[in-house]
């Protein structure tokens, strides 16, 4: 199904921009620490040139720190690559477990800024639906944004994907402050065309502490 609504396209561009800015910020932070480590090595070399050799243990620690930073940057760039490629196909078989894990990575800094912890619980088996992955990420991000505002007193939001007879669902759990208004904000508000375009339904569970996005097996 083509996502041709202007509203959906504009929301998609805004979403892409928001995530790209956040990712670039993360990368900048890692580069800043790598830069300081390189600077520290220069300082050590400078002192060694003046007859004060560097401590080998200190040098090993710097090497280990830089390797850790490279791994951290690699995780960020891998997530960025997967996010960028989510827009490749308007309709493709997608594992909701993998998609929610990616959502958790993309949202990590936003959550940290709000003092919220996101726990993405991996399903035991793949939860496959045929959908537009980028559009679905956009919808799930909007739900997560709402869920973070409604998080419980421990400031934790759990995300879990599961199979259903119709296709699959994604639950956002531990939402003590979930209100009808916040659900309407997603389902009927500024992104009303997105659930429609994805044939998704959004509702609270009976305890009003979970936000559930239900998806068909195929668009």
């Amino acid at each position: 199904m083509a996502m041709d609504s202007d509203e959906v396209e504009v929301a998609g561009i805004q979403f892409f921009g928001k995530m790209s800015a956040s990712i670039s910020h993360e990368i900048k932070n890692v580069l800043a620490v790598i830069n300081e480590n390189a600077g520290l090595l220069e300082d050590i070399c400078f002192m060694a040139d003046r007859g004060k050799p560097g401590d080998i243990a200190r040098l090993k620690k710097i090497a280990g720190d830089v390797k850790d930073l490279v791994r951290r940057a690699d995780r960020i760039v891998t997530a960025m690559s997967r996010f960028a490629h989510s827009a490749d196909e308007p309709s493709t078989e997608t594992d909701l477990g993998e998609l929610t894990a990616l959502l958790g990575l993309l949202a990590m800094r936003f959550a940290a800024m709000r003092g919220v912890e996101i726990k993405t619980l991996a399903p035991s088996d793949p939860v496959l639906v045929t959908t537009f992955p980028f559009g679905l990420l956009n919808l799930l991000w909007t739900c997560l944004d709402c869920a973070m505002k409604a998080a419980d007193s421990g400031k934790i939001v759990e995300i879990v994907a599961a199979k259903t007879t119709e296709g699959g669902l994604v639950r956002f759990r531990r939402l003590e402050q979930l209100s009808a208004a916040s659900i309407a904000d997603i389902a009927l508000g500024r992104l009303s065309a997105l659930p429609h375009a994805l044939n998704a339904t959004i509702a609270a569970d009976e305890t009003k502490t979970e936000l559930i996005v239900r998806l068909p097996k195929a668009l």
Partner: protein, 142 residues
């Protein structure tokens, strides 16, 4: 006399290594990863400059800046950010920040800014002292 700075950044790895390099250059450094802690620290200690990350959990850099300025208007604040944009930089400067430096940081440039901030602060403190003295003398002469 060594420059005295407070660095506030939620990235502890960055804080640790930047402060080590600054100490190697003779700068007296205090660090905290918490802007709330920073507000407590500036109540009890004085600094030539505060290096403040713009985006932090707990409290954004702009809010922390405004609250620091309320407590100590003479404090000189330099913003650091991994998220540089012209509008944010302009906002920070409009509020009265000394400078706005993007990450990764050029340490020589940062230390130069700190030295300038130290001079600006000394001038400001001197002006405040003169104004206070003038007020006392005016009241005495009434």
């Amino acid at each position: 006399m060594a420059e005295k700075v407070l660095i506030v950044d939620d990235d502890k790895a960055f804080l640790s290594i930047l402060s080590e390099r600054m100490r190697n250059r003779g700068v007296e450094v205090t660090t905290t990863a918490s802007p709330v802690d920073a507000l407590r620290i500036v109540e009890t200690q004085s600094f030539d400059a505060i290096i403040l990350d713009l985006m932090m959990p707990e409290m954004g850099g702009i809010e922390a800046f405004q609250r620091i300025k309320e407590k100590s208007p003479e404090l000189q604040v330099i913003f650091l950010t991994g998220h540089p944009s012209v509008s944010t930089g302009v906002d920070a400067m409009k509020l009265g920040a000394v400078d706005f430096i993007p990450k990764p940081v050029d340490l020589n440039e940062l230390i130069e800014k700190i030295k300038q901030a130290k001079v600006s602060r000394a001038i400001l403190v001197e002006k405040q002292a003169q104004a206070k003295l003038k007020k006392v003398l005016t009241e005495k002469n009434r």
